[in-house]
Symmetry: C2
DNA sequence: GCATCGATTCTTACGCTGTAAGAATCGTGA
DNA sequence: TCACGATTCTTACAGCGTAAGAATCGATGC
């Protein structure tokens, strides 16, 4: 354990940098993230970060991976739950994490999740479904559908441009939205995103459950 | 019609700029789009664009709006089709447009679609569903679900980082992907994205159709 | 034809970005 | 104590978005 000759002077770590970067984009938006500003938030010059992370692209990938791992932890260790619950939990955990880190949505949407850790997680979930008799191709499809729907839905729910924190339709007043949309908004339709997500997710899962039985 | 005293010297137009910008991101990726480079592609200095578009943010919004209008045109004028067909056509048209302009995916995912034109279109589709007896809140939900799923699904399908044109799992060889994912890929599962999109979309639509009947 | 005017384009400049290269600094093992 | 290596900072460069103003061009009024 003495392979490191000297210790960091400020306790800086790749993980600390990634977490600080996630906190930073949550507070200031992804477009405000720069090496110099992130360094300043960590009490360090911008170039110092390059000793821990080779480039900004890798930094962003690391942030995404951190979120994916967090979502996986959250999905809970209900190892023997029926696969429909597994899929539902996974999607809900992803949604919860994205809600807790709204600044990361634009990042995760713009960047493929190809990190080894993410693949391992995906594979593990795939295995859970397969062990319960779900054919592999259906397992791939229902997982992919649940995740992609969740990301798309959360994208529509949480404002996407950093300056526009409101959801897609909340910012539109009923007056300028057109007759039908205006009426729907006046009734309050389309604003309970959690309920809508839950309902559509159930349709997807039920649909694949019916396929898996046949 | 003589309110304009002088004519543009290179035939430049807001629309031409937006189309050139879309073509540019399709070819070089969204991160390569800069005012100077886009100007060069149009045979003009970068600052010239600011005479037609007030900022890069507005430029990006305009590009997204152009795509939305294009998708609406594509959905076809089957005015009296059953609402399930309307939803399906709308989602498929969106998917087709996104496929034709892969560089725009990151842009459209990062930017809310709040333009007046987009709202008018959404309202019109909402009205089509409502006139066939679909309650407004269900119409909102099924449209939102179909669109968000389509965007999320296409995000997962088409590589997201500009340097990574491959789909999410195509780049992962079966060997390093884990046992189950590896087996699934070896069988070729999860690669026919069009079929998968179509199938899950049908589940969503059918699910809401069942709700609308009750 | 010529002058004029306004629309269009270009030039310059500023602070910001990511990051390459190398110098400076500090904690630790010998 | 000394030297080494890990860590941090300094400097520099090209490119970014864009503010401000100068230059240029085409159509119009005389």
């Amino acid at each position: 354990m003495a392979d490191r000759r000297s210790r960091p002077r400020t306790g800086l770590t790749r993980e600390k940098i990634l977490d600080a970067a996630i906190a930073f984009v949550d507070e200031h938006g992804p477009e405000a993230l720069s090496t110099r500003r992130l360094g300043a938030a960590l009490g360090v010059e911008g170039m110092t970060l390059y000793h821990y992370v080779p480039s900004k692209a890798v930094l962003l990938d690391g942030m995404v991976e951190r979120l994916v791992l967090q979502a996986a932890d959250e999905a809970g260790p209900a190892q023997d739950a029926p696969w429909t619950e597994v899929v539902r939990d996974t999607a809900n955990a992803l949604r919860a994490v994205l809600h807790r880190h709204p600044g990361m949505l634009a990042v995760i949407a713009t960047r493929p999740v190809n990190s080894p850790a993410a693949l391992v997680l995906f594979d593990r979930t795939l295995g859970r479904l397969h062990s319960q008799g779900v054919p592999l191709d259906l397992a791939m499809d229902v997982l992919n559908a649940a995740m992609t729907f969740t990301i798309g839905h959360t994208l529509a729910e949480i404002g996407r441009t950093p300056g526009t924190p409101a959801a897609a339709f909340e910012s539109a007043s009923p007056s300028d939205a057109g007759p039908h949309l205006g009426e729907a908004l006046a009734v309050g339709a389309g604003l309970d995103f959690e309920r809508r997500h839950h309902r559509t997710l159930a349709m997807i899962i039920d649909g694949y459950a019916a396929l898996a039985v046949c």
